[in-house]
């Protein structure tokens, strides 16, 4: 989340970019390059795609800075350009089979109470939580999220932006951001739970 100071710095740099100062572009590229690449990489999981997107976004900032009106924060504008370029990339690829997000909820009885045992893997050892196998499961699960939920989850939980900021970038209301975020988390939690349960069974058989 940009601080007030960063916002003011952005405003000065935007003014300088509009005036055609090359150093201002360099400074903006230096400040935003990693964020652009990271967002695009987390969306595509592909280094070449993320590189292409980053190049395209830098060029768009350079060419289109005059069209930036400052109605929202400069950073929101950059995130939006990044997402548009990323979506274009994803469109050219074969569509993955998306899953239904209904499977994220536990079983309830008719009164709305849970009637299955929920295993708590949240305090497993770091060697399990941060194993390469777990990392693979997480990457795969995030990849399976439908685009709408995926982008919200990545911006909010991975990039760590505030709910308000995500709403600003995606032009969504706060409740809409929260509901997509919640669905994404439920789905991922379920996937991780299945994996950790299966892992436990596997290791007890050894």
């Amino acid at each position: 989340m940009p601080t007030q100071e960063e916002k003011e710095q952005d405003e000065i740099l935007v003014r300088d970019m509009k005036a055609g100062h090359m150093e201002a572009f360099d400074k903006i590229f230096e400040l935003y390059q990693r964020r652009i690449y990271a967002l695009s990489f987390n969306m595509t999981r592909n280094q070449m795609d993320a590189q292409d997107v980053t190049q395209e976004v830098l060029l768009t900032i350079y060419r289109k800075i005059d069209t930036f009106q400052g109605k929202s924060a400069f950073s929101s504008w950059v995130y939006r350009i990044t997402l548009n370029a990323t979506y274009m990339k994803l469109r050219t690829k074969k569509k993955e089979q998306y899953v239904s997000l209904d499977e994220g909820l536990p079983n309830f009885n008719h009164a709305g109470f849970q009637n299955e045992k929920i295993s708590d893997w949240s305090k497993s050892t770091d060697s399990l939580l941060f194993s390469n196998e777990t990392k693979g499961v997480i990457e795969k699960a995030v990849e399976l999220l439908p685009e709408k939920e995926k982008v919200v989850f990545i911006l909010r939980d991975i990039e760590g932006l505030s709910t308000e900021k995500v709403g600003d970038i995606l032009d969504l209301t706060i409740p809409a951001v929260k509901s997509r975020l919640h669905r994404a988390r439920l789905f991922l939690r379920k996937r991780l739970s299945n994996y950790f349960d299966e892992y436990k069974t596997r290791s007890s058989k050894k």
């Binding site: 090359m22 572009f25 360099d26 590229f29 390059q33 990693r34 690449y37 990271a38 990489f41 987390n42 280094q47 993320a50 590189q51 980053t54 190049q55 830098l58 060029l59 350079y62 909820l105 536990p106 309830f108 009164a111 709305g112 109470f113 849970q114 299955e116 045992k117 929920i118 295993s119 708590d120 893997w121 949240s122 305090k123 939580l129 941060f130 777990t134 990392k135 997480i138 990457e139 995030v142 989850f153 939980d157 991975i158 990039e159 760590g160 709910t163 929260k178 509901s179 975020l181 919640h182 988390r185 439920l186 991922l188 939690r189 991780l192 739970s193």
Partner: protein, 79 residues
Amino acid sequence: MICCKECIDLLCDYFEGTLNPDTAASLEDHFKDCPPCVSFLETYRQTSDLCRKTLTPVEIPEPVQIKLREFVKNYIQSP
């Protein structure tokens, strides 16, 4: 008493701290008597934490940094 389903529906707001105090209190009351919900809540929270720690920070690999510098030089600094 608030049921498990309602609790789970409100988890996102609960962690954002945007529930009104009464609702938050009834959630916490429920959690006192409901181990499955506590497990759910802990794993829900850990899901976000674990995903963030696993997928960040993404750094730009050195070869890509070189490519990007070349790109800026060729297409932006001297177009």
